[in-house]
Symmetry: C2
Subunit: 198 residues, 2 copies
Amino acid sequence: MLPPVDELEKCLARLPGLGRRSAARAALALVREKERLLRPLVSALGVAEATVCCCSRCGAFTTRDADPCALCTDETRDGAQLCVVEEPADILPLEASGAFRGRYHALGGKLSPARRVGPEKLRLAELQDRVVRSGVREVLLALSTDMDGDATAGYIAELLRGTGARVTRLAFGLPADSGIAYSDPLTLRRAIRGRQDA
Amino acid sequence: MLPPVDELEKCLARLPGLGRRSAARAALALVREKERLLRPLVSALGVAEATVCCCSRCGAFTTRDADPCALCTDETRDGAQLCVVEEPADILPLEASGAFRGRYHALGGKLSPARRVGPEKLRLAELQDRVVRSGVREVLLALSTDMDGDATAGYIAELLRGTGARVTRLAFGLPADSGIAYSDPLTLRRAIRGRQDA
């Protein structure tokens, strides 16, 4: 309707989780409530742009004044266990699970011939280097359970062969709070294959 | 997880249409793709903050260099018809309907004892003034169909009594593409009361 509001809407619509309609509503709310909504957002974006970076060691998000990041420098964590994720954002839910107490390595994506992401675009050399130098005994792959994730897992297993580290992958199976009726055939096939004693 | 990202997430979660989860995803996407997402958003917010204002005549969003706004200065529109809305954002869908070719007046809200919005907080004096001075013959109230909207409609009808302008309100009834099964009793009651020849 108004070029500056349209432009704002366009920028918001690019964010994941915002449809065209939500972006339009958000844009109008921002110009309507500049004091309460627009200014704090501008300021938060400014701080994030200036301070947030990726940890030079593991690739997780951190701030410029804390590199290596808190996860990398936490001496209570087990340096012999290294969890490989695609994106820094994947670390958050893994930490929330409370089930992993080692260190992380974010690849910055996954191999994908379709999207022209080859090994040279990912932090794979850094991974190999860390495993070799830091006495890592287990590399736990927490990757997507799609074709690209599978290919990436296979590539890493090959890459780390001979380093002496065990390469494992998160279990396949049914998600929590789900039912058989909602499960796709592949998930069920994997859940049956991986069945355990009850 | 990281204070600057948390702060960003908090600012985004205040926007309408964004839940906690979408805000978290959007915040992470913004710091991950500063070039593509964060910087254009900062710039669009800056332009919107600096240029967008409310038309001094009708209250619609406009830019500082176009006040009165395009709707107010468009000579092809019928100045004898004035549509009263709560918020500038309400004008957009009315314009999209293509069914109204008069001018607009945004109140900046609706009367609400619960939220302590009295007549002095709305652009009601400006409305009365416009109706009296500009030869408005019909004031079409396009207000919410809730208690506050009803109260505001009643107040305006009273306020404009004696100006000679006819005060009308949008019809109540069933929305398009809806079914009887999805309609609440009040909507159905109003739709029955307002029934028309088929």
